[in-house]
Amino acid sequence: MKQAHCIYQDEDHRWLAIARDTTKPGYIIDTNEYVVIHGEEALLCDPGGIEIFPSVFSALSAECDPTRLAGIFASHQDPDIISSLALWLEFKPDLKCYTSWLWQSFLPHFGGQDSTFVPIPDSGVTIRLDGLELQAIPAHYLHSSGNFHLYDPKAKILFSGDVGAALLPADHNELYVQDFSRHIRHAEGFHKRWMGSDRAKRDWCERVSRLEIDMLVPQHGAIYQGADVQRFINWFAALEVGVLRS
């Protein structure tokens, strides 16, 4: 059963990580969902797939009033990212879904109407959440051709979608990366195969190196914090990507 963990709090500004579902069926990839709460509004990042909706919803409801959800941020179009969209809209029909313009006409296959989607241009956009300014940072081709990450300059947290993801063994349930060199072994194969463009990777590394990041929170696996953030960026910059096998 998923649980929401508060990973950042400063008065009415919080980040929740809904992570490490040890009881979900093994054939479904484990995912992390994040909720940014500021004042009276909340934004859900990569809400996950249909099958895990009850578990994500109940974890979120335990820590946050779900009627405060103002929007959903979908880093890209994959089913483990956003196939639960229709269910969130069933609960709150006026939710806005922020996603790359590229997926604006694809995501309605999961649910929603024209008015649901707020297309993000390739260069990115500022998303306002009850006065807080969040930045949608371009991460195209990492791995999706229309891909964004979400940066919170106040909390110094970067939600990095599939970048930084690690496919951890069942007994690795830590929320934060404990030992970078041990952890990164579980991320290597994934990044080599899924991240298809070396140029896009270098652009992203340069872009995020300019940001002040205390935590890099990926959609799969554990959270990088402190020095491990830069360690990850350096590791990724040096990694050969777009290869079937090492």
Binding site: M1, P54, F57, S58, T67, E90, F91
Partner: protein
């Protein structure tokens, strides 16, 4: 607490509505194919009656009527087909809404009582489902009425086939051939009747 089951309670049996539409469509397809056969058979019968001359004048008239019957039947079946195609959309809507409602109900159950917005979400879902079910019931009624109308038409076809059999007896040297044709008519129409009976028993929604 345990992880939610991948298939939520109450979803599987409801998908039977789509299966029912598939069965209805298959019956309609079978009847359309048979109506096409009657049309060809009637055309052959018209030529045969012409060759038989004065002895088969009555048979010729009946063959013309049977041909008209086949054309009317094809039109009826086309409109039935259109109705069932429309109902696929309605049934899919209901099935989808039921699935969403079941998963949301599971989410609300796991979240415990008193989740803000839960009552409104349930009410909204129930209203939407009720609206879709009303639409589906009205389609079902229209479909049943159309099947009944077609059954009456086929009764007329049965009468024509029986009359053709009687006329065949007066066909002189062509009598055996005409009898064979009229027997074929009767068999094909009996087959259509059986298909329509099956169709008449199918319901897009459970009573």
């Amino acid at each position: 607490m345990n992880a939610p089951e991948p298939n939520f309670h109450g979803i599987a049996p409801r998908t039977g509505e789509l299966a029912r539409i598939v069965r209805v469509n298959e019956e309609i397809k079978a009847i359309v194919a048979t109506a096409f056969r009657i049309n060809l058979m009637a055309l052959n019968a018209i030529f045969l009656a012409k060759r038989a001359g004065n002895a088969a004048l009555g048979f010729g008239v009946l063959s013309n009527e049977l041909r008209r019957f086949a054309q009317d039947l094809t039109r009826h079946m086309a409109s039935l087909r259109e109705m069932t195609s429309g109902s696929v959309g309605s049934v899919t809507g209901v099935v989808q809404q039921q699935r969403i409602a079941a998963i949301l109900a599971e989410a609300l159950r796991l979240s415990g009582d008193g989740v803000p917005g839960a009552r409104e979400a349930r009410r909204r879902g129930a209203t939407r489902l009720a609206e879709q079910q009303v639409r589906l019931r009205s389609l079902d009624l229209r479909l049943r009425a159309a099947v009944e109308e077609t059954q009456q038409l086929v009764e007329l076809g049965g009468v024509l086939a029986r009359s053709a059999k009687i006329e065949a007896a007066y066909g002189g040297s062509f009598s055996a051939a005409l009898m064979q044709v009229s027997t074929d008519f009767a068999e094909v129409i009996a087959q259509i009747k059986r298909s329509l009976e099956v169709l008449g028993k199918e319901r897009l929604v459970k009573d």
